[in-house]
Each structure stands twice: as C-alpha cells, then as structure tokens.
Symmetry: C3
Subunit: 266 residues, 3 copies
C-alpha cells in the first residue's frame, strides 16, 4: 500500500514540467525515505535525478519499496487537471498495475481522481558518487535561464568559464559571438539574488545549449540554481526543492575537438 | 426600419464568440419582443438558442418582424473592431439587403460603421417545449469550463451523473480514467460560487466533450451555468445574460451502446 | 573609433522591432550629429528613415563618418539579449569589419558583449526635401494601430480622408465596407490623447494596409503619431523618439485606378 499526500500539489506539477521534455518514460521509486526518480534522457546524453523526501509530505505511507513505471507526458496531462492550490494524493495498492492521483480543492468541494496504468520500464540505477568539483556557482535561477535562452539564439554550445572574479558564458554562431560575464556578488538585499562562486581551480567547459535549456524548465521550482563544474566530471545543475529535496541534471562536457570549433575567439 | 442600440456593446461581442465556433451561417430574428437566433451546428447535432429581450436595449425599434441571414464569422470580424466600451447600434432599412453595425466610443470621438450584405438562409424554427427535467445543476461557469477542458485531455465523452450529494463528471481514454465530483454547496460567500443541485431522480448521461467544450465559449457571458438533465431529452446548458435573456445549448445524450464503451469502470 | 552609450537601452530594442519587419539589411550611418538609417523595404515600396541625435546619448564619440551594414534580423536577435533596463554601448574600431554591442545591467553585475560581422550593402541615400502637406493629423499612436489592424480584417487598402471636422479611414472587402471617423479633439485631459488636425486643403488618399500595419510596429516608441498627407507626395507616418529624434515611414499613395476599386460606396 502506497499513499503519499502532498499539500503543495503545485510542486508536483512543476516537477513534471521540469522533466517531461527530457524524459519520456521513467520509473518513480518509492521507499521509506522518499519518492525519487533517476532517468536518462531519450538520447542517453543527460541524466536527471529527483528526490522528494518523505518528511516533506503531509502523509507518507510506503509499506514496501516499489518502482512505478509511467509515461511522463500522460502524468503531466493528468496533473494539469489539478488546480494550483489542490492537495494531491498519490495512491497504489500492493500488486496493482495502476496508480491513482487524487486532487482535492482547498475547500473540499471538488474531488477528482485520475487512474493510470503503470508500465514496465527497464532501467538500471546508476550510483552517483559524491565528488569534489573544481568550481561551484550559485546564482539566481531566472538569470541562468535567461542566459541559456539568449545564447541559444546565437550558437549551439556554451563555454562556461569560472575564475575568482566571476563566471563567463560564451558562444559563437553564424551571426557572431557572445560573452556574458556575471561577477561574484554576495552583498545583495535578497540572498536569492546573490551570485556566489566557490572555486578551487579555474575551469572552462563546453556544453550543448539544447540540454542546458531543457534543464532550465525546472526554474519555477527554485529561486536559485547551483552549477558544479569539474573538468573530469559531468556538470551538475541542481535546483533545490524547499524542505523536500532536489532535482539534479547531469551532462557531460563536449570534448576538446568540439570545443575548439565552438570556442569564441578571444 | 430596424434600429437596436445596445450600450453594453461588449455583450454582443461575447455572444458572437460564444456561437461562431458552432454555427457558420444563421438567421437573426427581430420582433417587437426581442432579438433572437436559433440554429443547428454545422453537423446537425447541437442546437443553440439566443434571446436578447427588447427591454435590455437602450433603444429598440423593430417596425415589423425581420429575419436577417448572416455569416457569423464575418459578423465576428466586424464586432472585433468595436472597443469593449463602445455602444453598438444595429440598423437595417426595410427591404434592404444589408445590415449596418455602428460603434460609438464612450467619448463620441470615434464613430465606426460597418456594412455587411445579408444572406438567404433556409432554416426551420423548432418549437422547444418547456419540459420537466430529472435534475438541474447550477454551478460556476468557469468551473464547468475547466472540467470540460480537463476531461477532454483524457477522453472524448463525459458521463454526467447526478445524485443528491453532488454531480460527477467522468471520462476514460487510452491513458486512464478520470472522475471529478462536485459536492452540493450552497453556503458560499458569493452566490455565484454555489453549486446547487435540484434533483427529482438520479440521472447518468453521456455526452460528446467536443460539443460541451464548444458550449463553454459562452463562459464570459455569465458567472454561472445551469445544466438541465433528463434521460429522455437533450441536455440544456444555459448561460443567462444579465437583464436581457439567455443563450442555451441543446445536445442529445449518446445512446446506451456508446455509453457502455465510454463509461468509466466504477 | 566609434563609441555610443545609450542609457535607455530598451529604446534601441524598440527601434529594431519597429523596422526589422520592413527592412532586411541596412546601413547605419554615424556622424558627429547622430546615428541614422535610411532604407527602402525589400519590395522597394516604402522608405524608413531613423534619426537618433548625438545629444541623446550619454556618451557619443564618432571620429569620422562611418556606414555600418547590418542584417537587422541578426541585430534584433542580439538586442533581445539585452535586459530592458540595460545600458547599451555600440563600439567599432576604425577599419574593423565588426561591431560590438555591450549590455550592462543597472547593478553592473552582468556585462554582455555581442560581436557581429558587418556587411557591404549598396545603398543610395535619398535626399528628402522638406515639403508642404495638405493636411497633418496628430493622433494617439495606439488608436492608429488599432484602426489599421481592424480595417485589415475587412480589406486590403485604406482610404484616409481629412476634412476640418475629422479624419476618416475607410476600406471595403468581400464581407462588406467599413468607415471609421475620428473627430478633431483637443480638449482631452492628457495631451497625448488629443486628435489634432491641421488642414490647408481636404485630401483623400489610398494606401496599402499591409504597409500601414508594418509602420505601426513603431507604436511602443511614442504615444502619438503624426500623419502628413498631400496628394502629390508620399504620406509620412512619423513617431517621435523623446529627446533623441524620430522614425519616419514614407509610402506612396495608390493611383486613381486602384482607388476606384477600393473606395467604399458612400
């Protein structure tokens, strides 16, 4: 028996919007500790990992570990039927091949339930080791989304370069080149507007903007985003989900060959 | 000579938006009592009936009964040129084959007139007898529109079931099933937010969502909608037009055969 | 060496949006007096002339006259990357075949620079003599835009007729005819809402609505528009740019032949 009751139902709606562009079908894994998902995107280039800890739910009952395969587009269609203030409860009976989403309006005058067939999805759970990164940038998530969108109108890849002074996002395309520099800035009125750089070693890495722009669909989940960079590891783009967990996107940097082609001239 | 002056011109704009998706060409009938329209949709499945009573016009002159055939899409194009605060006057000379829409801005600084050729449209006026219904549901029109839209993302038909406790809207489709229950609720702060059920007999009927969604284009005309259901009669979906009349949509339920296929499992 | 610093960067964004639909490639001309552009539209029917005077820039350095050929669509793509509050600086080195747009956020925490290759564009600069017009209409720019958009849903051309009492915009199409009359009105609360007619001689001229609608893309630049009409000259549709200059569109009237076809019956 599984029963998860989430008062902030809109959060689940945002989670689906954040990942459904990247991933078609995925297993949601429930255990005593929380509700999670790990999936590669359909072209097996990027990885998304979601965690919603059990403490964040108003009610969380999960008698035994269960993995529920769903088509994310269909889940998204059902969740779009939930009002933004609705309480969402997810239910599954033991051994059942369906899952039920229940939406309750705040006044309890409207109750909706949506039942969906589960799917069998092959997937291997990757262990992601904790790692040391050369540089970690925390910045406003809306600013990061804006930069990725702006650069994508010029080029296909972005070079992210971190120094002590700031972080530079560069691209080049047929119409020209673009460089956007954000300075470290910790003395702002609102902490979520800060740009904070933690750097052990300067780093400069190239990524496909198409994926970066997909990741920024998680922007409504958090005011800030954290980008962890290391020359030997995939970048981690993390959006924290207040009091519940996170959504993390992993993407391998483009190798030197490509980088040369796409690196803006200095 | 026909001359109808409507201070709330935006109301006529909304009326056209409400019916032009359903009906292509129709006769507007003018008599001493009011301005009305009755028309089948282009596939002859649904019927729309409009009444704007003469008392609701600032000035209403209709020397003799007249039936004016118009292409609703063209009328809508012309009415889109009227500002929301404009006063609209509709004029036709006796024996003329044209109609003129005049729009006056509130300050009278801008006067527009649009002249349109009338059409000959064959139509038979159906007498619609007053009937007893098994159940009548009055609910917020925006809520009804939301439900029809949400269910249409899952299935093609809706089963509307009324009991004393509430009204249930159900559908099923390839991705699953959905049930939305609204409870009777008469103790709300604003009367237009109430859901009121008047029931003589429980009733459960199946309708095509495509048509229901067309009907909800009348939502801007009224805060509430009244749905009258009877197992032997077409459903009536009525939007009252304040102090002037109504717009009513009629749609026959799907017969048992279809209903079995589309009825959600309970 | 060229360096122009414009504190109101959003103004340059609006200028590009105003002209890029009409003109693909154009030379921007810089001299000690200002930054200007003159270009025919791609079908050589309409002419656009832009002037931003040097005094309107916070910093304006132009060592020698220079003409910079740019693809306006590409410039627009780059300017879309500037925030609405950004300060924009345009830079070009002597003899360089590139131009750089620099965007500084108000807090100086974000600095972006976009470099673009210049193009060689053949163009002849037309001398446009100052002329006497039969009638000059000044009216709210949003009202003019609304009228052009509304009439374009009915017909392809507009007849603009000016008398002492007012200005009439007329069209006719398959579905009917339309006339919109604005009365002279100088006694409004806000001067930008006035419609002011300065007339030496009545005038009635026909224009293609497609071009008029393109011109109205300059509406965000100014609350008012000035339309100067003369039977022997192209119409001038002018949007003033506060404290800096103007953008002017020139369009030849359609000749009598066409006019007969499109003139609404009176």
């Amino acid at each position: 028996m599984l029963e998860l009751r989430l008062v902030q139902g809109s959060l689940l709606k945002k989670v689906l919007e954040a990942i459904k562009e990247l991933v078609n079908d995925a297993n949601f894994d429930c255990s005593a500790t929380g509700f999670s998902l790990q999936a590669m995107d359909s072209s097996h280039v990027a990885l998304v990992a979601l965690l919603l800890r059990s403490e964040g739910f108003e009610h969380y009952r999960c008698d035994r570990n269960i993995s529920m395969g769903m088509n994310l587009n269909n889940v998204s269609k059902m969740l779009k039927c939930a009002g933004n203030d609705d309480i969402i409860t997810l239910k599954a009976d033991d051994g059942s091949d369906t899952v039920t989403f229940m939406f309750e309006s705040p006044t309890q005058d409207k109750i909706a339930d949506f039942e969906m067939k589960l799917m069998d999805i092959d997937s291997e759970h990757l262990g992601i080791p904790e790692a040391e990164y050369h540089a970690i940038v925390r910045m406003p998530s809306a600013e990061f989304a804006r930069i990725c969108k702006d650069l994508a109108s010029i080029g296909d890849t972005v070079v992210i370069s971190v120094t002590k002074e700031g972080v530079k996002f560069s691209t080049r395309g047929d119409i020209g080149t673009a460089n956007i520099v954000l300075r470290q800035n910790t003395t702002v009125d609102k902490p979520e507007e800060a740009t904070i750089i933690e750097m052990h070693e300067p780093v400069s890495l190239t990524f496909a903007l198409r994926y970066m722009n997909s990741f920024t669909r998680a922007t409504p989940l958090s005011n800030t985003v954290t980008i962890s960079l290391s020359s030997e590891l995939p970048v981690v783009v993390e959006y924290k989900i207040a009091e519940m967990g996170y959504i993390r996107f992993y993407l391998a940097p483009k190798i030197e060959e490509d980088e040369d082609e796409t690196k803006p001239q200095v």
